[in-house]
Every structure is written in structure tokens, then in C-alpha cells.
């Protein structure tokens, strides 16, 4: 069916239903690829999706949680707003994990849920749930629409809020009668909300104070986070790092903003981060935090975190400044603007001796940990060597999507990123089951890039149903399950802190290859080193989705490690 395209929706008024208006709102916001699952209260909208399928592509996931993670993966790979749709009641509540994940990881996402007719609100109607009440603490904004005429303005606000400032998830709940109702549609994008200040004005005196502290520092260190990527500040950041000559370490969500092999990239901070940046956090004289929020997994014990250092905090969200770590010099604003403006204010420097300190620590870590991880001499396969081979076979060009657990830490530690937006993972919330649907969204958002999902055998089974989405859409996602037949990270903690009482962490797994094959996905299982390289070559060469299961050592641990409550400088290498 041929459908009309509204060329200039702001200057057009057409009578249409609320559900058709939703389609035109999404198109006006550039959201022509969306994820979701139909049901009673959202049926009028799905009817319009069917009618407008030549303009807007809807991907049917196999569970609403999968729709949110796919929308997140899409958003993280493209920088655009991801969209997830669900019906009322259970459809809506199934979105909550993904929404909470997007909230804590600042991912722009708009979720649209159907709701029972407005005359039934509060009557415990079939599939009625108070999704506005339920989603309030995990959304940046939410709103219920009960009349079609509200749709254009509310949708425009939803997209504006989701993508501006510090991004986040927005939920819009629309009653069924509002979807049916006819009204005069016209659309205007939202560019301002009176009560909302997405980015505070940059203060020159903050930049001056920061520049002075940076120039007079003897042993400065940078810790950057996802704010560099979300602010599209990669170039400005690289220029800042190179001119200042300051060793720069990353948080788990910040990685890939500059290449892994950049000479000033000194690795990862935090619980399973690198030895040097963790230990030297407590030796630097100036700590420059950029677009990161001092999560407890990054800081370890706050009482002994960088107490000797003057802290400069580049941050977009004023509520993050002084939340966990006191900022001696806050620099509020968008990372791109603040970094571009501080660049001419700082001197070009090289901190050679101080940088050597990081290299020395790296060499210690290499001998004690890294060497054995990526070039093991023991018989059993390690997660690290699998990642190392994937790096080689993809030339570091792939988007690596990780789930949550040991494989995530190993994957992110050893992945060799060359381009920004190449690392997609569930950071703050630690959502097992994130990777498979997120990889589908990432592949659809960046179809020209190789997308490799690296997942543990536990997390894989939390959203394994999304193989059906791959089967139906042909999304060419490469799936690597690192199978140790354990919930490995929990088992590691049980070994170290609970006297090896492996409570409910050992898994009896099914034949994963057969499951993949049932969905027509080519599959291979690797149990020894001799076939690993060929299998990865075959996987990367495949034009379609491919499932690779690698049986890894059952009881390997991830090191380095900062035990909970310990200081970053008490990081353990074994």
C-alpha cells in the first residue's frame, strides 16, 4: 500500500488518528527503525506500522526486554535515539530492565507503551498496570497521553529529552482510545523546555582554573568515561590528551573513544582494570576526570581514593559533581565544548618519566596476568586468547558487544578498539542477557560493521530467545559464547570470599549448537586450541549470523582485581 509522506509536518495540518500521528512523529524524528512486540492496547499503532511498512521498519523481538536492549544497542552504535514499543501490562513491565539499564548508562531511548482505554484507568482492567508509576525512578522523563491531540507535542519533547544533555530513557504511555481518536495533526520539533537545562553554560573561570592546575601538575592522570563519546568529543579529547601529554585511562563505558593502542592510552581503571592506572590513581597529583561519574566499581574504597590528588571534573550533569568524589575544580558543560575551549589554554608537555611509571606497571601486569591470559601455556582455553584472536581476525574494526561477567571484563580488557562507539556493554546496571539483543540492534544500526557479541553461558540463556529475531531478520550478528559451565564471576567471588562454596553457580547447559542450528544459524563448537583459529576465521568470513561456542577453562579467574571495600592501590594480581 502506498502511504503519504508529510514533507513539512510543522507547516501541515492533516486529520488523522493518534496512532497514525505516532508514525509521523517517529519519522519526523528520524526513527525509521524500531523494536517491539505487539499486544492488545498497542494494536491501533501496530495497524499503522503495517500500513506504513514502506517507511518505517519494525523489528519483532521475542521478548520486550529484547526490544529495549536492541534499541540500546542501536543507540550506542549510532548515537541516535533507540525506540522500543510494547503493549500495556506485562509488555510494559518487561521493558523495565532495559529502561533501568539505559538510565544508568545514559543511553538515549524512547519507549512507547500502549495503555488500556482512558475510561478504564485505575479499574484493574485486563493488562492494566501503572507503568508511569513503575517507570518513574528509572526514566529521565515519562508521560501518559489520554488524548490524541497531545501526541505531537509530547513525542517531540520525548525525543528532545532523551537525546539532549546527559541522554537517557523516556517512556510515553498512550491509552488505546487516544490511538484511535482523530485530530488535526501537525508536528514541530522541540528545542526548548522552560524547566530543563540540558547543558549548563561553560564558565571561563573554571576552564582557566583547570588549565592552570593541568599546566602546573607534575604527575597528572586522566580518567575518561562515556561522556567523551556521548558528547561526540573524540577528536577534541584526543587533541587534549596529545597536547597535554597526560597518560589517560578509561572506564568500561569510555573505551573506544580513542584507539586502544594510542601511546597515551594506559588502560582501564576499576575493579578489573589495569594495574598501573589503579595503583597510580593514588600517586598522581592531579586527577582529570572527563565525562565519568566515579562509580564504586571505579573508585573502590572512597576513603582511600586519590586523596593526594587535586581533582578536576569535566561533567555535563551538575548532580554528578561532588556526588562521590569532591571536585576541587569542576568544569561543567558538554565535553566537546569544554575540551575544545581548554585546548588553547594549556601548554604542550610530555610527562615522560611519569608515563614510564605506567609502562613499568604494565610490564609487571603483563608478566603476572596478561601473558598467561592471551598466550596461555596450559592445556585449557582461556577467554583472553579467544578475544586476542578475534582482534586479529577483525583487525580491531568490529563492534564488540559484551554481556555481564568474567567474559565482559576479559573482553573489554583485551579488545583492541580502533574506532569510537565500538564497545557496547551493560556497565552500570550489569544486566545479564544484554548482549545478544543489543548486538542485533547494533548490527542494524551499523550494518557495514562487523558486530561480535561475546557472551557467557549464563547470560546467553537469559535472552536466548532473540535467536528468533536473528532467524526472522537475518541480522548477521556473530555470537561467541565463552562457556565455562559456571556463572563465572559469581563463582570467582565464591572461591575468593566464600571458601569455595559454589552455591547455584554451576550450570548444566544444553547443546547450544543444536539450538543455533534450529534457527538456521551456522554453528561450531571449539573444545581445544588446535581448531580455535580456524573457527574464528570461518566465523568472521561468514556473511550471515554465526554461532561459536568455545569451551574455556572452568575455574579461571579474572585478575587484576580490587576486592570490594579495598583501595584501588590494593589491587591484586593473583
Amino acid at each position: 500500500m502506498e502511504t503519504k509522506t508529510i514533507q513539512n509536518p510543522a507547516k501541515t495540518t492533516i486529520t488523522m488518528s493518534g496512532s497514525e500521528a505516532l508514525i509521523h512523529c517517529l519519522l519526523a524524528e528520524g526513527a525509521d527503525l524500531i523494536y517491539g512486540y505487539p499486544g492488545g492496547a498497542i494494536m491501533p499503532f501496530y495497524d499503522q506500522l503495517h500500513i506504513h511498512q514502506d517507511k518505517i521498519h519494525h523489528v519483532l523481538t521475542r521478548h520486550e526486554q529484547g526490544a529495549t536492549h536492541a534499541a540500546q544497542g542501536f543507540a550506542r552504535a549510532t548515537g541516535k535515539v533507540g525506540v522500543a514499543i510494547a503493549t500495556s501490562g506485562p509488555g510494559a513491565t518487561n521493558l523495565i530492565t532495559g529502561i533501568a539499564d539505559a538510565q544508568i548508562d545514559s543511553t538515549p531511548m524512547v519507549c512507547i507503551t500502549g495503555q488500556v482505554g482512558s475510561h478504564l484507568l485505575g479499574s484493574d482492567a485486563f493488562q492494566e498496570t501503572d507503568i508511569i508509576g513503575i517507570s518513574t525512578p528509572v526514566t529521565k522523563w515519562n508521560h501518559q497521553i489520554t488524548s490524541a491531540k497531545e501526541i505531537p507535542e509530547v513525542l517531540a519533547k520525548a525525543f528532545y529529552i532523551a537525546r539532549s544533555g546527559r541522554p537517557g530513557p523516556v517512556l510515553i504511555d498512550i491509552t488505546k482510545d487516544a490511538q484511535f481518536e482523530e485530530f488535526e495533526f501537525s508536528y514541530e520539533k522541540c528545542e526548548h523546555i522552560r524547566s530543563y537545562v540540558p547543558v549548563t553554560e561553560v564558565k571561563e573561570e573554571q576552564l582557566q582554573a583547570a588549565a592552570q592546575a593541568i599546566d602546573s601538575a607534575k604527575q597528572p592522570m586522566i580518567v575518561w568515561g562515556q561522556g567523551v563519546i556521548l558528547g561526540e568529543a573524540e577528536e577534541a579529547f584526543k587533541a587534549f590528551v596529545e597536547k597535554s601529554g597526560i597518560p589517560a585511562a578509561w572506564t568500561i563505558l569510555g573505551v573506544s573513544a580513542i584507539p586502544t593502542d594510542h601511546p597515551l592510552n594506559v588502560g582501564m581503571v576499576g575493579m578489573h582494570g589495569n594495574y598501573g592506572p589503579n595503583v597510580l590513581t593514588n600517586q598522581c597529583d592531579v586527577l582529570i576526570a572527563i565525562g565519568m561519574r566515579f562509580d564504586d566499581r571505579v573508585t573502590g574504597n572512597l576513603e582511600s581514593y586519590a586523596k593526594q590528588a587535586k581533582v578536576i571534573h569535566f561533567e555535563i550533569d551538575p548532580a554528578e559533581v561532588n556526588k562521590n568524589v569532591k571536585a576541587d575544580i569542576p568544569v561543567l558543560g558538554n565535553s566537546k565544548e569544554t575540551l575544545e575551549r581548554i585546548l588553547p589554554l594549556i601548554e604542550r608537555k610530555e610527562h615522560t618519566a611519569w608515563h614510564q611509571n605506567f609502562k613499568d606497571h604494565y610490564n609487571i601486569e603483563f608478566d603476572k596476568v596478561i601473558k598467561n591470559d592471551i598466550h596461555p601455556t596450559k592445556e585449557g582455553l582461556t577467554m583472553g586468547e579467544v578475544i586476542e584472536l578475534i582482534n586479529t581476525k577483525t583487525n580491531g574494526d568490529a563492534i564488540i558487544v559484551t554481556d555481564v561477567g568474567q567474559h565482559q571484563m576479559v573482553g573489554i580488557r583485551y579488545a583492541n578498539f580502533k574506532k569510537s562507539k565500538s564497545n557496547i556493554t551493560s556497565g552500570g546496571l550489569g544486566t545479564m542477557g544484554f548482549a545478544l539483543p543489543a548486538a542485533i540492534g547494533a548490527k542494524m544500526g551499523a550494518p557495514d560493521r562487523e558486530v561480535v557479541a561475546i557472551i557467557g553461558d549464563g547470560g546467553y540463556q537469559m535472552t536466548i530467545q532473540e535467536l528468533g529475531t536473528i532467524f526472522q531478520t537475518g541480522a548477521a550478528v556473530k555470537i561467541v559464547v565463552l562457556n565455562n559451565e559456571f556463572l563465572g564471576m559469581v563463582r570467582q567471588w565464591q572461591q575468593l570470599f566464600f571458601d569455595k562454596r559454589y552455591a547455584s553457580t554451576e550450570m548444566k547447559n544444553p547443546n547450544f549448537c543444536k539450538i543455533a542450528e534450529a534457527y538456521d544459524i551456522e554453528a561450531q563448537k571449539v573444545t581445544d586450541r588446535s581448531t580455535l583459529e580456524d573457527a574464528i576465521t570461518r566465523m568472521i568470513a561468514s556473511k550471515n549470523s554465526f554461532f561459536l561456542e568455545v569451551m574455556v577453562e572452568k575455574e579461571d579467574n579474572v585478575f587484576p582485581m580490587i576486592p570490594t571495600g579495598a583501595s584501588v592501590s590494593d589491587i591484586r594480581l593473583a
Binding site: 518513574t136 526548548h192 530543563y196 551538575p318 548532580a319
Partner: protein, 185 residues
């Protein structure tokens, strides 16, 4: 910053939208902080709504929570003040059996001395209204209690600050920016 528990009056200027109260109370609930009192009303500025609430927390907590409140899209600005920095009052109603008004002359003295007032009297009951500080209301409550109180209710705190609230100029600034942006477009 002080780690001492202090009584703060939090004033939140916001849009008047359904659900915002839930969003604000969730900020306190999540941190296991009790809201001692709450009142909601219009503010001195047209179209701007105001919440006034009272909490007992440290200044460090208060500062962080202020940030979390201001992060909310529909919140324009939040402020917090100590008791010394505000003029504040609460209002209470006492419903008492009418017979007592004649049988117990002491009640009339209590009303007179506390500067409370009688709002209504009928055959069955009369209602005393007392506004003031919590301690003054508590005193009236204590004094009336032995005679039997049929119903008692006390409002949340309302407050104004001794110094100027910088919100008016802020809103004017927002309006100017809005108009400038509009003119540009």
C-alpha cells in the same frame, strides 16, 4: 560540609504536572529519608508551582539531593534553608465537643493565651485553628488534650526565606532566552 543532622526546608519550583510529586518523593524514598512534612501550592510566579518539604538530614546529603531534584526535567529550581534562614509556619485544627466550651473555662484561656482562634461553633462541636511554629502548636495540643480532642490535624510547613529567592530573576532570564531564540528562528 557538616555531617550533623539538620532540619531543612526544601523549596522546589516546578511545572504543575501529574507525576512530578512521585518523582520527587522517589528521590527521598530511594535514600531512605523520611519527608517530615509536605505542602504544594502556587508560587509567587504565574504558572510556576511550588513544593515545600521538610527533612532532617546532613548538609552533605541535602546538597546531593538538591542536585538530584534539579535533574528532573520538570523542576525549575530547588533551594534548601535552615530554620534560622526562613520564616515558617504550620497550621493546625482542633475539633472539640461544644459542651466543653462552657463546662471548662480553662479552654477559653488556652485559646486566648495561644492566640488561636475559633473557626466555627455549632451545637455538637467547635473548631480551633492555631497557626505558628511546631512548638506553639504542640503546646496547644498538650494543653487541650486532657479535655478530649475529637479530631486533630496539622498542615505541612509553609515558609518564606529571609533573603531574596533568586528564582524570579532566573525565570526572567529563561523567558528572555526563550524570546531571543524565538526571534532568531
Amino acid at each position: 560540609m557538616s555531617e550533623q543532622i539538620t532540619t531543612y526546608t526544601v523549596t522546589i519550583y516546578s511545572e504543575n504536572n501529574i507525576g512530578l510529586l512521585n518523582r520527587i518523593s522517589a528521590i527521598f524514598q530511594r535514600r531512605k529519608i523520611n519527608i517530615e512534612s509536605l505542602s504544594a501550592s502556587e508560587s509567587e510566579i504565574d504558572d510556576v508551582f511550588k513544593f515545600t518539604l521538610v527533612v532532617n538530614i546532613t548538609e552533605h546529603q541535602m546538597e546531593k539531593i538538591k542536585g538530584q531534584i534539579e535533574r528532573q526535567v520538570e523542576v525549575i529550581k530547588a533551594f534548601y534553608h535552615t530554620d534560622e534562614e526562613t520564616i515558617f509556619t504550620e497550621s493546625a485544627l482542633f475539633k472539640i465537643n461544644s459542651a466543653l466550651l462552657f463546662e471548662e473555662p480553662q479552654i477559653q484561656n488556652i485559646i486566648k493565651e495561644s492566640h488561636a482562634r475559633i473557626v466555627t461553633v455549632n451545637r455538637d462541636f467547635f473548631v480551633i485553628e492555631k497557626s505558628g511554629r511546631r512548638s506553639e502548636i504542640d503546646l496547644v495540643h498538650r494543653e487541650l488534650k486532657p479535655f478530649g480532642i475529637m479530631q486533630f490535624t496539622r498542615s505541612g510547613r509553609i515558609a518564606v526565606t529571609k533573603t531574596e529567592m533568586p528564582i524570579s530573576s532566573l525565570l526572567q532570564q529563561i523567558r528572555n532566552e526563550q524570546e531571543a531564540a524565538f526571534a532568531k528562528a
